[in-house]
């Protein structure tokens, strides 16, 4: 088991390095000259040269990449300025340290992701479950039709509609502002409930359909029939012999979806003006702020790759058939 974990972590490092290199090359090749951008409108060729020098843009690309990596693990110097590890450079736009931008915004994105995940798991799994048990009834039909529709509603439409109705028209909710929980729990909840809902709807619909399909499959299993033939109570039959097998595969999908969201909910955060990683990504792309784009790309890749490993490890403990034999 330990060896397996170490092997997987080795793989993670390789993948992250590859993602790093890849994004670095893409931005290097495809972007306008950063020195010109930083320099602004009133700019002399000498100044551009000196910026190039400080940023190391005159070096060969691989040397630059190496310095970028070094910055992350050991820190680096830009001219006279020392950027201590983990150093992801400075925003071209604001000159803020990219690392501190991330640490400031990550809690917002995590709050958005966790809240949405709780909502969609509850709604999706419970809804799908009831549908499976009441298969073919009006409840099942209605819920599944809604789920099909819900998947196809774009996030931004839902976000704008909710905002218009609840904030502008009915004025039951304040405009989202991402306050700290400790300062004002009620305001915190009121600010996040719309982003959570908007993000959760699509996933909930997907999970409801998935749960329903899995449970219905499980009800056809021979071991489910065995469980009934054994004379177990209905609740025990359902809990042990339908739910556990039906929900285990869903944990995998959930892990990946959740990890993806930690890298920022671009549209939702932007629409609600929440200062999370997603909004930071959108802003940086709009302004071609390369160090920030690099950082958010890496962060998203980091979450997805780590999420993958966590999911695999969790799955091996949930499903005895894939359990890594330790003896």
């Amino acid at each position: 088991m330990t060896r397996y974990v170490i092997g997987r972590l080795g793989g993670v490092v390789v993948i992250l390095l590859a993602v790093c290199l890849f994004t670095y090359l893409i931005f290097f090749k495809l972007s306008p000259d950063p020195a010109v951008m930083i320099c602004g409108k009133t700019c002399t060729p000498e100044r551009i040269d000196s910026i190039r020098d400080v940023l190391g843009l005159n070096q060969p690309i691989l040397t630059q990449f190496w310095e970028f990596l070094q910055g992350i693990f050991a820190g680096r110097d830009y001219g006279s300025v020392h950027c201590s590890a983990p150093c992801l450079g400075y925003s071209f736009q604001t000159n803020e340290s990219v690392w501190s931008m991330i640490t400031a915004r990550l809690p917002v994105s995590i709050t958005v992701a966790v809240g949405a995940a709780v909502l969609w798991l509850l709604a999706g799994v419970i809804g799908g479950l009831i549908s499976a048990i009441k298969q073919g009834t009006w409840w099942d039909r209605t819920a599944m039709a809604l789920a099909l529709g819900g998947v196809s509603v774009p996030n931004y439409v839902l976000a704008l509609v909710l905002q218009f109705v609840l904030v502008v028209k009915l004025q039951v909710l304040p405009f989202p502002s991402a306050p700290a929980f400790a300062d004002n729990p009620l305001l915190w909840f009121e600010s996040y409930i719309m982003p959570w809902t908007v993000l959760a709807v699509g996933y909930a619909c997907l999970y409801a359909r998935l749960t329903r399909a899995n449970v219905i499959d499980t009800l056809q299993e021979n071991y489910f029939r065995t469980a009934r033939a054994k004379g177990l109570s209905r609740s025990l039959v359902l809990r042990r012999h339908a739910l556990r097998p039906a929900l285990t595969p869903i944990t995998t999908i959930f892990g990946m979806d959740f990890a993806g969201l930690l890298g920022g909910a671009l549209i939702t955060e932007t629409v609600f003006g929440l200062n999370g990683i997603g909004k930071m990504a959108a802003d940086s792309i709009a302004k071609n702020d390369q160090p920030v784009i690099m950082a958010v790309t890496l962060l998203a890749a980091f979450f997805v790759v780590i999420g993958n490993v966590v999911v695999d490890l969790v799955y091996t403990t949930l499903d005895p058939r894939v359990r890594v034999t330790s003896s």
Binding site: E221, N222, T226, A229, G231, L232, R234, D319, R321
Partner: protein, 267 residues
């Protein structure tokens, strides 16, 4: 008569299908006594499994049954789900065809035997565990004390069917229904399972219904035989009677399909 442990009279099972209701079991009657084995034979789709499932009230949704099914004089048809739960696995147990998929892969075999024992007998987990280990020993699973904590996929097909049998017998039922318990197994394992079932029956005195489409298997285990064809009971009598002097063409066809050892000796 001692044959009256279990009586089925005029059992008819109707299933809803796309083309309206279909009688998949028609007016079937038979009896099983203590320490007695009834074989039910018939080709695929003849209604053998539906007969068995009707006994336990496990028919597909929308199924309708008529007639009478009595265990020790008590009517089983029309019982509530609750009452049926206390009968299933307790008074009447069932072993299914496919041992590979009949056990839940997510739980140890121990837990799957224990949960059944405790559902009917209550008691602590520790007591149930003792019963489960004894049950595994009875079906000759070696090293039962350790193997009880293993998962189904860690056992062979034959072993898994032994475990199913151990489970079915752990509450000492008066009737055991075995629905093609050996069909999915290879011939040597098949013989071992049959031997085991005969051995267990002789020690427990459980009445048994043995369902198969293999006449060779029936003749080795059952004293009496019911032959079914498309839901109809076409022949019912002692094995000797049915096999030596079949009244129905269908039985003859079935018999002709069996390669017989004495045929080869004779030729």
């Amino acid at each position: 008569m001692t044959a009256d442990l279990f009586v089925v009279e005029d059992l008819t099972v109707t299933l809803p299908t796309g083309r309206g209701p279909v009688d998949v079991v028609k007016n079937v009657s038979f009896t099983v006594g203590r320490d007695d084995t009834l074989g039910i034979v018939g080709e695929s789709g003849s209604g053998k499994s539906m007969t068995a499932l009707a006994v336990l009230g496990l028919l597909p949704r929308g199924a309708e049954t008529s007639g009478s099914i009595r265990l020790e004089g008590k009517e089983l048809l029309g019982r509530s789900e609750r009452e049926l739960q206390s009968i299933r696995g307790n008074a009447i147990s069932m072993v299914f065809q496919d041992p590979l998929s009949s056990l839940n892969p997510y739980y140890t075999v121990g837990l799957q035997i224990e949960e059944m024992y405790r559902a009917h007998r209550g008691g602590s987990r520790r007591d149930a565990r003792k019963v489960a280990i004894e049950a595994l020993e009875r079906v000759h699973i070696p090293d039962a004390g350790r193997r009880i904590d293993h998962y189904p996929h860690q056992f062979s097909g034959g072993q898994r069917q032994r475990i199913m049998i151990a489970m079915a017998l752990c509450c000492s039922p008066s009737l055991l229904i075995a629905d093609e318990p050996t069909t999915a197994l290879d011939v040597t394992v098949q013989a071992q399972i049959l031997e085991l079932m005969a051995e267990l029956q002789s020690t427990t005195g459980t009445g048994m219904i043995f369902i198969t489409h293999d006449l060779a298997v029936i003749s080795s285990i059952a004293k009496r035989v019911l032959v079914m064809c498309a839901g109809d009971p076409v022949e019912y009598g002692t094995a000797e009677q049915v096999f030596s002097d079949p009244h129905h063409d269908y039985t003859r066809t079935l018999l002709d399909a069996v390669p017989r050892i004495d045929d080869e000796v004779a030729s």
